[in-house]
Symmetry: D3
Subunit: 283 residues, 6 copies
């Protein structure tokens, strides 16, 4: 009986958080370990289905994980690198879309629907609602920079209480163009901005933004971030993540979060417990 | 951190229960200790606000507690009894309505709104949606038997996502009629039937229906109940409660529950944990 | 036959007035003799039901009449006075709400519904849509000044073609606060302003605003009123009435009327005959 | 002042009648003196505008009066007669439509709109919603019997709160067919039946159905009418009128009225005074 | 088979034109030969029905053709002229409306409905949505200049997917006013402006605007037109036509077209082939 | 000019066909040569975009073409055969879904959107709206028989005027099940039946059903088909096609068509020309 009472108390502690988000748009960038380890997948799925059932308008944007590399290698498609970054060739682009949209997106949509959500997959290129141009004048082949996001289709699906799951591929300017491979963090940020989302959550494989003593920084303003970049606290792979966060909050998203996707149920922990997890970026 | 994870796991365990009730009508008869003790009031309020926030269509029907007696005595209005049952005189009826609607109903509505619900009080007589005739040919004065419930107003309020809280008073046939005092259990049952509710929950001051060895009977069919009444297991004050349950399930309500309102959060315990609490009556 | 023709001619004379108000919001402050004398109650009820049936969006705000005093005295609750004004003690406040909401409001709602309107009672405190702070730093106890009116609930009810009848009680800042007793004229004015009503009508026990020779002043601008107050024509109890009128027309209500509630059907006389009755205040 | 009070009392006496008809469909056959005398036209117009403003769904079907004859004679189009009934030649049919739709219908629509209704004219042939076949195998030329009424267009207009005014002309089976001249009483009856109207009112130039002593018969059942026809009380031109009434009430219209259009405001007299005017036919 | 393939190819060539106009308002001034010759009538009708079926919001404004003159002469109503322009007498005005609305408008509506559109006729005077004042201080009698167009009724009809066909008659300021005869080109232009139409098409009996060598000018800006009027290329009867076009495009209509109604299917030729027909006026 | 007129005449000839299908559901099985040859793809795309633009509710179900085989061979996944039919292994099933949904479906959706439709891809398994069980007790591995089609998601998309393009994959009973490969003809038929479509069109690589002399049979009833199967006229690969047609028309689809997808614009030829192409099956 005590256990049951604990259950119920917990539900009630979540109430103010639920009240805050019901009817609001929350964009979730899904990626990293959460996308590859079985228990983490399960935990992610159940988190999202819960949010959807509670009436929160969730939009998921996912990355590619390692399936793309495996398929490229199985098909003997070799990869060039420029300045240490992969170049997406036309041949590779075809595989990127096939795996992202036909395997990874379907798997996520399938898991969500199996657990009772009404999810639907969207390929930014096929639906033609994300448009892009070549990054750095084409240095990286079919890797693109987003030029526009048309939210019309997402609005229609949210209208019908469907849960959009988006593969970060964009269309080029002519029919038959192989499309563009888009960094999933950036795609999620641009979609959140276009949708005027209340919150964006980036699932990563790190604890959050750390100070020089490796302690977690729970809340950062955009000014804090400028400083931490200048003084060398935020470096390397963390820079594009925080930049996406800053981009979001500067452009109307209320809060951006970098959370540790390696922790089970990190999304619910962030949304439904007192001080959340990871690093929160505010304006 | 482990505590936070427990919190989240609990939320997820509640998911299938939430999925079952979102968009459905649940009628709750509020009364007994839950209506008089401060912590139980609080616990009731938060339970209902949670259900409302989750998108469950809750309708509350409340009784009078001891406030009516106190007010009658403060006003020196004496009470007759016939066959051990109180007779509602015209003078008393005026106080019944004033206290039920002007104090008790307001207090419940106020608590619910303060915690974030959108509750609205309804007096069955003033709104004129519950009609009654004198019980036992008037032996008990202005105590009545419901003759009809018109759900039009409740439907309109649920439409606007409002939470109706109903005082169990009914109107008579002419203007100026003092109205009828209605047993709150019966009022709740008739309202649940008229609304084609999915579930009705009676909050009581007992553990549930017990067998002869004082063990709780968790689930009873209408046939079980006939038997238990015949063999003297269900006796006394328990008979009208189970009769209301039977009336509901025979007339289209899916399940009726008798739960122990003395236990904090008994409503959530019933709705959101595996085998619930108290006694469940099914067809 | 001639009588019948007269009936019909009358209806037709009302047509332009009906055309002017169909679909518009009219707030009516109900009080005074109209609320205590039986024929006047009847006449008020039938007036309001007619307006409601014609498709005019009526909102009624009522005062307390003498029932509160009677109940306070029946319960031996004594009343203090400061500067000649009553102080609402906590004990009295409980009675104020009980009688206003549980008796007076119910009686009005009941009469309206009995005659075919779809009225619904609202307690500003329980619904939590009128908020107040203590008047004059608490000199008068739980007598309050309105700090905000949230029209969301009224809009929803008007949407469903329901007729809101409002008891002038406001909520305080914490749960369990006994609430505030609000002057009904001021409550009506604030509600009319918040609703952007087309017209507000104050039912009083006087003929209207009189000049020094006791002749009725039919129409007054806000400038006229300043002058009449300066030169001592408008004095005493009339001042708060005209101030409420001025407050309304300065804040977007088209016209405010002070009418003589002692005259049967004074509301219809005002709305549906050529030069109305009482005093009209315009900007 | 007394006059004003009388005005208001009258309005209130009309309330139950208004409550009965708000939102209901009432078909009015407009014709006879009411259509030719100036004061009667005015009185008719104001009656209809009042009904429309009150929210009653009025549909007007009008006849041709003497304008058609005048125009035929001005154009020197001669008229044949068969069995004492006029034959509508092709040449005459063109004039019938031109005058009915282009002059009479427009005049009615114009008067109604000028007084604040939102009326719109409909020509049964042009809109193609009334279809007919030749009466008595063509003996009377382009005089037709209605074969079908499609209410789709009327429903759409009532939806938009418009007031349809219908010229009783029907279409034939091929394009370019000159159409059919339809008896306006019959057209009104068929339209009332197709619309499932609550009431139909025939404006005539007689007092109503009289018994053999020339006393008005206020209420007749269909059985009464059979008897009165058999025993020769109802004869001549009255027969088609009562037959139309019977046709209506037998086919779902609640009541049919034959009223004296020579009396000003006879429609309001019928709808809004106690025992109405003329003869009422019920099932 | 080749024929069938040609059929289909043609449909596909029309696709971009259909995509451009679906859901948009197109006003068509119908007049001239297209209104008098049988094959041209047919061709016009089928064009309009096609546009309506495709989901284009067509509004037709028609002129009077020669029927009015014939009827005036048949009725021996003589016509005065001032400065070579006809003066509309009161007597003539009655005939103008009768023929325009009762014959011509009905014929158009009838043809459209027969071919499967849902057309409805509107008389600007009876509906009271076009208002006018006497042209040139009454020099031309009941010939008027439009003072306002209220699109409320048209919006309601387009809402219900009906096709409005408008007779260019306007109402005066008092009831019983015979109304005003309005130039149909000007009526069409004012209606297009009031409706914020995407396009207006004037059907005329000329090829289009010609240069001094009688070559068709396909596209003209408002500046071009100023020049061509100054240098005497656009003269005479062409001036009011191009002025109406300029009026439209200056006031928000995207394009105005002068097309040759003597050519079968000139409307579809304009809308659905590559460079259209006639002269297009743009801003 | 003559060419332009021909264009327009063609449009008009299509009008009755457009009128017949606007607002109706038409399911199209896309496959064969139409899916592999570039001009045929283009021709298909433009046909579908035209239908969608005209307001016809098109639902496309596609097959896999040769891309699946190529990918299986590129990945060195060998294929077993039983009774001459391919067995879908678990490994192959993964590739089937990846190619069908991630490449072929995307390509079709992309082409349609590029040409101005609002298409959206659906994977029957991920969306979980097509459910299946193993065919012939699993003899063919993950090749399945449809057990149910839930049209809820398609209804929602058609509601929002989106064009669903469906990959014929079905879900199994447990999460993580690789899903089932479904014959596209059968999937299309089951979807058409579940949607109560007006028409289904199967695009094939044959002329239609031929008689023994190789002449096309334009129209067949279900009885004709029984006979032709009995007498050996319909044999081999044609049998499942005609069986799907029969299944559709017997279960509420009005007409089923087998058309020659090798002919450009065969869909428009079927829908918009007089006697269509290929074989039509009716009940």
């Amino acid at each position: 009986m005590q256990k049951k009472i604990d259950v119920v108390k917990t539900l009630l502690e979540a109430l103010p958080f639920i009240q805050e988000y019901v009817g609001e748009i929350v964009v979730i960038k899904y990626g990293g370990a959460a996308q590859t380890k079985d228990e983490l997948k399960q935990s992610f799925t159940r988190d999202i289905v819960l949010l959807h059932t509670l009436g929160i308008k969730v939009v998921v944007v996912h990355g590619g994980g390692k399936s793309i590399d495996k398929m490229l290698s199985a098909l003997n498609i070799s990869t060039e690198f420029v300045d240490g970054q992969r170049v997406t060739t036309k041949e590779a682009m075809r595989v990127v879309e096939m795996v992202l949209s036909g395997e990874i997106n379907n798997e996520i949509v399938s898991m969500l629907n199996y657990h009772g959500a009404k999810a639907i997959g969207l390929d930014g290129k096929a639906i033609n609602f994300i448009k892009a141009t070549p990054k750095d004048n084409g240095t990286f082949g079919y890797t693109g920079d987003i030029s526009s996001v048309d939210t019309d289709i997402i609005d229609k699906l949210l209208n019908e209480k469907l849960l959009p799951v988006i593969a970060p591929i964009a269309s080029g300017d002519i029919l038959g163009h192989p499309g563009f491979n888009i960094n999933a963090d950036i795609a999620a940020a641009q979609i959140a901005i276009a949708l005027k989302a209340k919150k964006i959550i980036f699932m990563t494989d790190i604890v959050g933004v750390l100070d020089k003593n490796k302690n977690l920084l729970s809340t950062l303003t955009t000014d804090d971030i400028s400083l931490l970049k200048e003084n060398g606290t935020i470096v390397g792979g963390m820079i594009p993540k925080v930049d996406s966060c800053v981009d979001c909050v500067v452009n109307g998203v209320q809060k951006a979060h970098i959370i540790d996707g390696r922790v089970e149920h990190s999304i619910l922990l962030e949304l439904f417990t007192d001080d959340g997890v990871g690093t929160e970026v505010i304006r």
